[in-house]
Symmetry: C2
Subunit: 404 residues, 2 copies
């Protein structure tokens, strides 16, 4: 199940200097594309953001270490096994995989980053992965984003990608990215596997700032089930192959806006493909006194099982939204001063049901696949937005009927 | 659905000086017992704890005000309508109900406390309630706890009660209580309606301390769905009719232990009857550095939809427990130092799956209806325990298929 029409772009613009190769190692299912190798041309810059879960997976620990000392040249991803909760053995296994890539591609092991996604707590089937590294390397090409988007999926039902070209100082810059994720989604740093590449030339510190800032506005603003993954990782590589250098404040701002938009599209694709999702819900908190209180309110509503089941039922049960706002921990919240809207229908004002509200108007909004819940706190001038799904029978089925 | 066998006691000991009466106002369903009046003898002391949800219902606002200035003589409860999110009209409606009780029973309105539970955001049907106050008053008797336990239920499928007698200085003291609640359950002060009475004689400040302390160990340690209600209220009345005065430290300690036990039983009854529950799960966090971090870990695990669906599936998917512990926000958590157990089966140690662990041993525990998840942090000497349910298809059905 997924919400609305497929948003994967018809055209995924290749990024000069960034090649992708796919192979089938049979980690979980025979024949499934489950190993993806990405190659970043020499002279590029690379930035990364990773999960803040204390139980971060072995590959995440390796990525963070390598990014501090080396510019990455290869990204190796496997699905079907998260290599998380695997202790010292997991670190050894990740090391064996990237050492093999390093040898095959003639780079240092520290120039390779490992990524894993799938079941937690089982030993990584290293030999299966090593056996197909040659296939993945032989498959490397710039025009391979769509197959790579398929190769990184697990319980996802759709490919997730976004691709834009923009003019900076009269020259064309390309930005293309893919992501995966469907359950265990409340990214707290970045979501479970996102890869974005550009042919712009951007210095590393600026690149990291751009990625961190875009992550805050995209992956860190979505939640399916409040469960932050052990493996969340997002990488941004800038190959510079376009010859367009981005360093002035104006150029950075223009690029930043395009990157934000691309990463928001990747994040939205994850929500639309959220486990069991039948609704795509934007929760907009306006006029908060501080960013944290806006996020607290938005995420409390987004995580409320009662709000989520009402969304699944298309039931304008606004009392549940109100109860969630009330328990969000906002200091000295004046319930008489706030308003709550479903799209443009005011449902709550003056501490109770809005006088203008009718069940028919509320039901009409709730019947939609795309719904905006707008909460105007009237305490300050901070706005935040979080995207989420409903809670359906299929979510329970997906997560109760098999080991994911 | 409910977990395990019914725990409602065969004998609910009457409490001298505390009478209960029940009536049918037809608020939501014709013929259903939905109005309960309780009478507290003159000379009693009364304590209360209430929801911390900022959107606290009109009756909760009235209760808090009246308890500050008067010793309550009557408690009026209606089900089928929460009188929450009802603004100024809600306060007027609550006032009309208690004024009618005051007139009927010849006390001041400030000596009456109102309680409402049911759907949020609809006007209280005051006239229906006023019409049956005479019936409820005529029904008042000390031996009426079981009918009252029925009269306060909403989506509950079972009566919830507990009753004990203890010897203090050679004299018998009785403690009897009832509660209700099944969904919108993460009490943050007390749960949606609990009433406890004793015939001991206890001064008001001590009574409030006893109630607050027992609430911390019982209702504030349970969660079904993380949704703190707008109407949570719990009242403890001490009539003194036994003639046993409790004021010495030793007597208070003995009484406190009995009260804790009684309120824990009432809280457990709510979890066993949690919406859609098929499992009763105790989450024990041991050797934490501080109480808050112990509770953060316990509630994060208790609220994780992925842990809850694995519990529903009886799937020993320990990776989900580990991921939840990892995102609980514990500062500088050393994942290599902690252990996680299912009952007495060690599942996680040294940052990964325990060497001694077998799927069979884990599966055997998960197949039980009662399950203990024990998380030993090895950071200090603080222990906490939280009780919760699984997340089943029935939870979604109950909350998606009709307006509750």
């Amino acid at each position: 199940m997924a919400v609305g029409s497929d948003t994967f772009p018809a055209t995924m613009h290749p990024v000069a200097g960034f090649r992708l190769g796919v192979a089938s190692a049979g980690i979980k299912k025979p024949g499934r594309r489950d190993v993806v190798l990405m190659e970043i041309a020499p002279g590029s810059t690379v930035a990364g953001v990773f999960t803040l879960n204390a139980f971060c997976a072995a590959p995440v620990q390796v990525c963070k270490r390598h990014l501090q000392t080396h510019i990455s040249r290869y990204l190796l991803t496997n699905t079907g096994n998260a290599n998380a909760g695997t202790g010292a053995q997991g670190l050894d296994d990740a090391q064996r995989c990237i050492s093999a890539v390093a040898q095959l591609c003639d780079v240092a092991a520290e120039e390779v980053l490992p990524f894993s996604t799938g079941v937690i707590g089982e030993p990584l089937p290293v030999d299966k992965i090593l056996a197909v590294l040659g296939d993945a390397k032989a498959d490397l090409k710039e025009d391979n984003w769509t197959l790579a988007a398929e190769g990184i999926l697990t319980t996802d039902t759709r490919l997730k990608g976004s691709s834009v070209q923009l003019e900076i100082n009269g020259q064309t810059v390309t930005l293309t990215g893919i992501s995966k994720g469907s359950g265990m989604i409340q990214p707290n740093m970045a979501t479970m596997l996102g890869y974005v590449a550009t042919d712009a030339k951007i210095a590393q510190p600026a690149l990291q700032t751009l990625l961190s800032s875009a992550t805050q506005r995209s992956f860190n603003r979505i939640t399916v089930d409040s469960d932050t993954s052990t493996n969340d990782s997002c990488i941004l590589a800038a190959t510079g192959a376009s010859g367009v250098e981005i360093s002035s404040e104006a150029d950075l701002a223009q690029f930043s806006a395009a990157l934000d938009q691309l990463m928001i599209e990747l994040a939205h694709a994850i929500i639309r493909d959220g486990e069991g999702a039948t609704k795509f819900v934007a929760i907009e908190v306006e006029k908060a006194a501080a960013q944290q209180e806006a996020l607290d309110v938005a995420f409390t509503v987004a995580h409320s099982p009662l709000v989520k089941t009402a969304l699944f039922a298309s039931d304008a049960n606004w009392g549940r939204i109100l109860a969630a706002v009330g328990r969000a921990g906002v200091d000295q919240l004046d319930i008489d001063a706030l308003q709550i809207y479903l799209d443009d229908v005011c449902i709550v004002e003056n501490g109770g049901r809005a006088l203008s509200y009718t069940e028919e108007a509320g039901a009409a909004v709730m019947a939609q696949q795309d719904i905006r819940i707008r909460i105007v706190l009237n305490r300050g001038d901070v706005n935040e937005i979080v995207w989420t799904t409903d809670l359906s029978h299929d979510y329970v089925t997906i997560n109760a009927d098999y080991r994911s």
